[in-house]
């Protein structure tokens, strides 16, 4: 009897832990959506901030986040795919490969602010890109690289070995086999990694703090070497640095909702793509 009782109490505790975790998510979504939804309107999404950011919209921040994420993807995706192709297709099991994998796993644990420091020295100072959307995009590209490599490698792994062997047996060179018999089947899966990388890049604040994000800009960025406004940085400013924090609170909620919505949209579409892709590979 005692045993049964202990089991019931124990399982109840575990269940309540699970409920609590869902509750956390529920509270977060409830608060942001509940307070932010009323702020969202067409002008809010398409206009610039006015009157010291107490009026108007957040369009420059949306555009800036879009731009910087685009640059991130342009640099991170080819590099990530290349590294994944090397690791999955060319690399032989050995000390060097083990070291590379260790480096990739460790890179994904490096704090984002440290990437920021690295970006300031390498891109802003040494390469003289200045604080710009290019410097910020490159910094974010390094940050998302481990993610893109891992996701691309996952995709390459799902392509059956026989596809490669068939091509090689017919006399194709290794690269020819990869190009015609592996990549076409792996690219849709790699897309998942691209989208997840985008979502990560769009939400990061610390790496762009000193590499290119601006407090407020009267005009939109015209070149890669201009500073930019970004959604997460805008939210940070509105929440902590603004002179009239109480007055801009609704705008802060609106910004948080747009940012959260964008990221949830990206990550759910990645999950959906992965699901579809896995089903197709199975059949």
């Amino acid at each position: 009897m005692k045993k049964k009782c202990a089991e019931r109490i124990g399982f109840a505790l575990l269940s309540s832990a699970a409920v609590l975790v869902i509750l956390f998510l529920g509270i977060i979504l409830w608060d942001i959506i509940g307070n932010g939804l009323g702020v969202i309107s067409w002008p809010f999404l398409t206009q610039s901030p006015r009157e010291g950011m107490t009026e108007g919209g957040i369009f420059p921040a949306i555009l800036g986040t879009f731009l910087v994420s685009l640059i991130t993807v342009v640099f991170a995706v080819p590099l990530g795919m290349g590294a994944a192709i090397y690791l999955n297709e060319y690399a032989l099991a050995g000390r060097m490969t083990r070291l590379t994998r260790l480096a990739i796993r460790n890179l994904s644990g490096v704090p984002s602010i440290v990437y920021g420091l690295f970006g300031v020295v390498l891109f802003v100072q040494m390469m003289k890109f200045g604080t710009s959307v290019l410097s910020a995009g490159l910094t974010l590209a390094l940050l998302t690289l481990p993610l893109t490599i891992t996701a691309s490698e996952e995709a390459l792994k799902t392509v059956p070995k026989s596809y490669r062997e068939g091509a090689l047996a017919l006399g194709a060179t290794q690269w020819y086999a990869i190009r015609t018999n592996v990549l076409p089947y792996a690219v849709p899966g790699m897309l998942t990694g691209v989208i997840l990388g985008l979502a990560r890049a769009a939400g990061e604040t610390a790496p762009i703090l000193f590499t290119g994000a601006a407090f407020f800009l009267p005009h939109l960025p015209k070149s890669l070497f201009d500073q930019f406004m970004a959604l997460p940085y805008h939210l940070y400013i509105l929440a902590t640095q603004h002179h009239d924090i109480a007055k801009v609170r609704p705008i802060a909620y609106g910004t948080a909702l747009v940012l959260l919505g964008l990221i949830l949209l990206l990550s759910t579409s990645a999950i959906y793509f992965r699901y579809r892709y896995r089903q197709r590979m199975r059949s």
């Binding site: 049964k4 089991e7 124990g10 399982f11 505790l13 575990l14 269940s15 832990a17 699970a18 975790v21 956390f24 998510l25 977060i28 608060d31 290349g82 590294a83 192709i85 090397y86 690791l87 297709e89 060319y90 070291l99 590379t100 460790n106 890179l107 644990g109 490096v110 704090p111 984002s112 602010i113 440290v114 420091l117 690295f118 020295v121 390498l122 100072q125 690289l145 006399g171 194709a172 060179t173 690269w175 020819y176 979502a199 769009a202 939400g203 604040t205 610390a206 000193f210 997460p232 940085y233 940070y236 929440a239 902590t240 948080a256 940012l259 959260l260 990221i263 949830l264 990550s267 999950i271």
Partner: protein, 315 residues
């Protein structure tokens, strides 16, 4: 040689031009492989590059002020008019404090949730809980920090009767929520990797499912769970925006969770934007960066070693 035929439609096999083409084909293959090799080495290059640049920028500060200046004093006041002080002990203490607080909340909750997922949850519960955890992992840190200000802040000041809730406790609660997804999903993997025969043997001997979980499953998955916790800990130490927004940012040496603190990450985030490049203060911020990098590197490495060893044991 199929490729030549296919790709260029050249039918000169056996002729001199054909032989040359085969040679250039081999060269091309070699170059392509070298290109990918270089690409593969990129991760090592970046990791080494981060360490090298941090060290390179931190070195002038060590040279100018000495190592003891940084690690011998708790007073961080680089902008003082009379005498600038660069002690980072209070900053390290703050970072460790919020991390410890976060782990105290996240470990029981995370491991319990993982055990629920692996041993109790019905398929339907899993289908709700798993995506929920994935969504939780995707919430940007700046949004979590914002909620620290608008939700947790008033809650703490009401419950504990303090003037404002931007304290170490606030940071701990938020970091706990942020490290939960890592701890839950990796602990669940570890629990699922326990061979079914262990559980079956325990159940056959008359143990209840609860006893089996507590005395068989969790102990045999322990190394995996510890690795998960370490990884969550690495995340918490390095997290910037959340603690920057929610912990009040007052660099003082304290052990009171209801006081404002200032972590290493927050210090860099606040001050790097304001100091001119290549000044003593600027270099000092890279010292903090270097210490932070070293701490997370060691934590991640240990977690990685445990996981690798653990996975080898599985095979």
């Amino acid at each position: 040689m199929n490729e030549i035929v296919l790709e260029e439609g050249v039918k000169k096999l056996g002729t001199r031009a054909g032989v040359q083409q085969i040679g250039s084909q081999r060269l091309k293959e070699k170059l392509i492989e070298k290109f990918f090799l270089l690409n593969g080495m990129l991760a090592i290059l970046i990791l080494g590059g981060i360490f090298a640049l941090l060290f390179f920028k931190a070195y002038p500060a060590f040279q100018e002020l000495g190592v003891i200046e940084f690690f011998g004093s708790p007073v961080w006041n680089p902008t003082s008019y009379s005498k600038a002080q660069y002690g980072i002990l209070s900053l390290i203490n703050s970072s460790l404090m919020v991390t410890l607080g976060a782990l105290l909340i996240a470990i029981p909750l995370g491991v319990a949730c993982a055990a629920f997922l692996s041993d109790i949850a019905s398929l339907k519960m899993r289908e709700i809980l798993k995506p929920a955890i994935e969504i939780l992992a995707g919430i940007p840190s700046v949004v979590v920090g914002f909620l620290g200000i608008v939700l947790v802040n008033p809650m703490i000041s009401r419950v504990f009767g303090v003037s404002h809730g931007l304290t170490a406790l606030n940071g701990s609660i938020l970091l706990a929520i942020m490290s939960l997804p890592t701890i839950i999903s990796l602990s669940e993997d570890a629990l699922r990797a326990v061979p079914p025969s262990y559980k079956e043997a325990s159940l056959a001997l008359g143990a209840s499912r609860w006893q089996t979980l507590v005395r068989v499953s969790v102990p045999s998955a322990l190394s995996g769970i510890i690795a998960a916790i370490m990884l969550g800990m690495g995340r918490a130490i390095g997290e910037t925006m959340t603690v920057l927004m929610a912990t009040g940012n007052a660099p003082a040496l304290t052990f009171n969770f209801l006081e404002a603190i200032q972590t290493m990450t927050a210090t860099i985030a606040i001050e790097l934007g304001e100091v001119p490049y290549n000044t003593t203060h600027y270099y000092a911020l890279f010292v903090i960066g270097l210490v932070l990098f070293a701490m997370t590197f060691v934590v991640n490495l240990i977690s990685d070693l445990i996981l690798q060893k653990y996975q080898e044991g599985e095979r």
